[in-house]
Symmetry: D2
Subunit: 286 residues, 4 copies
Amino acid sequence: MEIVITAVGPDNIGLADPIIHYVTGQGANIAEIQMYDHDEAAVFAMLLRIHLQVDSIDPLRGTVEQLGRAKGLSVRVWSPEPTGRTARLAICTTYRPEPALSLLRAIRDRQVPAEAVVMLGNRDRCRGLAEQFNVPWHSVGNPLGIPDEEEIVRVLDEYRVDYVILARYMRVLPATTCWKFAGGRIINLHHGLLPSFPGIRPYHEAYASRMLTYGATCHFIVPELDAGNQIIYQSTFTVPPGMKLEDITRLGQEDNEPHCLVEGVRRVVQREVLLHFHRVVATPPS
Amino acid sequence: MEIVITAVGPDNIGLADPIIHYVTGQGANIAEIQMYDHDEAAVFAMLLRIHLQVDSIDPLRGTVEQLGRAKGLSVRVWSPEPTGRTARLAICTTYRPEPALSLLRAIRDRQVPAEAVVMLGNRDRCRGLAEQFNVPWHSVGNPLGIPDEEEIVRVLDEYRVDYVILARYMRVLPATTCWKFAGGRIINLHHGLLPSFPGIRPYHEAYASRMLTYGATCHFIVPELDAGNQIIYQSTFTVPPGMKLEDITRLGQEDNEPHCLVEGVRRVVQREVLLHFHRVVATPPS
Amino acid sequence: MEIVITAVGPDNIGLADPIIHYVTGQGANIAEIQMYDHDEAAVFAMLLRIHLQVDSIDPLRGTVEQLGRAKGLSVRVWSPEPTGRTARLAICTTYRPEPALSLLRAIRDRQVPAEAVVMLGNRDRCRGLAEQFNVPWHSVGNPLGIPDEEEIVRVLDEYRVDYVILARYMRVLPATTCWKFAGGRIINLHHGLLPSFPGIRPYHEAYASRMLTYGATCHFIVPELDAGNQIIYQSTFTVPPGMKLEDITRLGQEDNEPHCLVEGVRRVVQREVLLHFHRVVATPPS
Amino acid sequence: MEIVITAVGPDNIGLADPIIHYVTGQGANIAEIQMYDHDEAAVFAMLLRIHLQVDSIDPLRGTVEQLGRAKGLSVRVWSPEPTGRTARLAICTTYRPEPALSLLRAIRDRQVPAEAVVMLGNRDRCRGLAEQFNVPWHSVGNPLGIPDEEEIVRVLDEYRVDYVILARYMRVLPATTCWKFAGGRIINLHHGLLPSFPGIRPYHEAYASRMLTYGATCHFIVPELDAGNQIIYQSTFTVPPGMKLEDITRLGQEDNEPHCLVEGVRRVVQREVLLHFHRVVATPPS
């Protein structure tokens, strides 16, 4: 069974040793290790992907969590492998409802075999959507929209979320949160074509470049500042010269972005694509 | 009648004066002037777009060409306005035949109301195509493929070409040639999405960025080194993760690029778009 | 005598004709014309650089201004040529006083042969500096620091300013103001190396790139959105690995930036460099 | 003692396990692990930085090399810690002799406490330099200048090189070679300012941008395609407008580049800077 272990700690000393010791002692084969030490930012983290001959990850999880507690590490043990259950999604939102709505419909109509187990918002704009689809809602922002990052992690843990879907969630997740759910569990919808238009106003920037093609990108978030290009799906549309920016933006927001997110999430939960050493690869035929 | 006059001269002194004097004396309204003086590169040029109440540009052309001869200027007088005739195209090629073939078919099938009056190649690969469609062919390259730039201009003048179509012509036109046919008469097919992938290997670069969207761009060439983004049409296609570069490239070359060129040329010859002060604009309703 | 005429008008029709007619009728040789028509932004402008055999530009100015009034154009006539007087500078400021202070000292100590005839600020931070050096001060910002763009132009005209010095003035001049003083009369200090770090936080961006070289750039503002690289002077400093961003920024602000501005302004007012068709060139030996 | 172990293997399976098992069993603390699996490029590698209480790395090296042989891994064990000996440098060259010459002089004059134990060239241009300074020379290029990558590694191993200095060596080291000497052992001189001008013609590119500042960058090579910005030292010079490209290039090549390389190498061999998780940091005071 493929198992992903993440650990985030207060410093670099002793971050890796106890967990690696333990799992290799259990006969695990190490498939991937990523370590991260950003002294200035005080972020120390590790991702460990292993293969272990077990039927359940629960015993391993128990022991590794115990190790974590003893060493002051925040530890998570997760397996991407299908186990008869559908993937559990958290959908994070800010203002725009269209991508979340499309995803909720696609789940309801069984086009995306997953379950929306919780919705979060740093703004309350999409709360009605959660009620409409009977999904538990958590407001995680203060009146200025600044999110409580610890509360977000707590909610994701509480609902035993497999994948975190950023459906036009307009905040940057802190590096520690990214590491806690590393290994291809955070999926973002960016409303521009990556890597060309990475900023917060990609429609404006493409328009200023006088492009006639606009697009959206569904990609994994990987927890390094400079990483990128973990693209799961991109969709585009073309416009005639002279179309106004607001019309272009509306086309993108109402049609292209929702489509892009739904197809991207579908590829992940149906395990058509994998994140492998920072690269998205097609799942090899077994 | 809208008239475009271009002049290219040996130096900056006296480049503008005689022509501007003459046409304003004839009662012309000046709509646009672009001057260019690149001392280091010894390129001195002017574009003059005027409106003049005449039924024919022939008398004006005669006088301006006389002025040009007297001053050592290379002068061209052209009108984009429909005059009952179809647009006369020169199709420039190097190796890849697909875009030129698609354009020739679209002309034959009257999807693009134009006439291919001449084909040029710095390589001979597309000569058979010209023969197949009964279009006069001119080889303009030496055995190394280096084109004879003066011969190209001579051919374009001889065939009284309205638009120069660079159908995967893999050479950069010199600035003087661009100026001689300035004003929206040179149309290029670039095999990548502009402005993101401007180089000579856009498929490779997009692939190295791990993009899942590939595209082509049909755009006007404007005669400054740094200009860009005069986009007439862009078309894209999306691929699944893991598709090999050679398969992506083949999809682009055989299907997406030809479509992009045909639609771009159609927009220009049907006067749906105009080049106006370095920007492509939709033709205003008259 | 070299004369620069700028005209900004309400639309494109008739912008160029009357002035060009008049000056060519006076026997002027046209050295450079730049026209600009940005329909979407409603900016229509022209720069005309001519040579005319006159001892004074005053008669020409009178007539051209009359033409402007008749046609609704905002017209300016200026000559860069030395006429026995020192260059008249306007120094525009926001918060940081160091570059303006250094320039005022260099003028006082006659290292820069110019006169600071007026200082402006969209914030009042540098008002004391103006008082200290007995330079008239104009506050041009509202309480939010938003400048009154028409008042700025009015002040620049009132003081018959030759050059506008943006000494860490943190606002973007509107295109119309840039056109009114086109031809190499607006000099900006950018606190980063251009073209690599064009944004508003160049120290942060270079630091994020983990560079060990930081710099400042003194350049002409040219009135097109995409223009750039009209660099008059650049100065740099290097730092050891591990130096903190605030220490780097302080080094740059207190030492490198002021030096960069003073040397840049000196080059312009001593006519060592010229703006020629959007390029900065060394003044040819006469 | 800090010890760096690198392993490069034929595939990902079993790359990490035996070595990690062994060293953690010996009581090593793991300070850093980097793993790399580029399936398409068939590059599989690991960097392991550990702390171990030993007086000599020789016993560890012996065992780990034995493990490597058994598993088909190419293994290297190295310690950056001072042990009374001077650092052993390999200087790699192509055409330009100036940087290598400056470094050899600085070593001779004891400004850089190191020993040039071998020089390599994919071209023979710098062979005379090696003879002049009595450094063994190895030609590693074929008549076209294409280097024998295996021979390079063999020579570096044979001479027990601590640091590989790329002194205007104009070839890209393959990823496998970079991994074999990972951990801050490969130092490159780039003849432009990074990250702005990364290409092979940085003088041309900066000149085309009309910059007045030119620079060189001494940096660690890290073995990922997208990594960068591991800058050890940068030095710059400024030029007046109008200076010709060939004069700028000569200034850079003859003066600025050699200075940049010498100071960069000095910082490394005197352990003023370290490579720590892909970032260059100042050595913390012990």
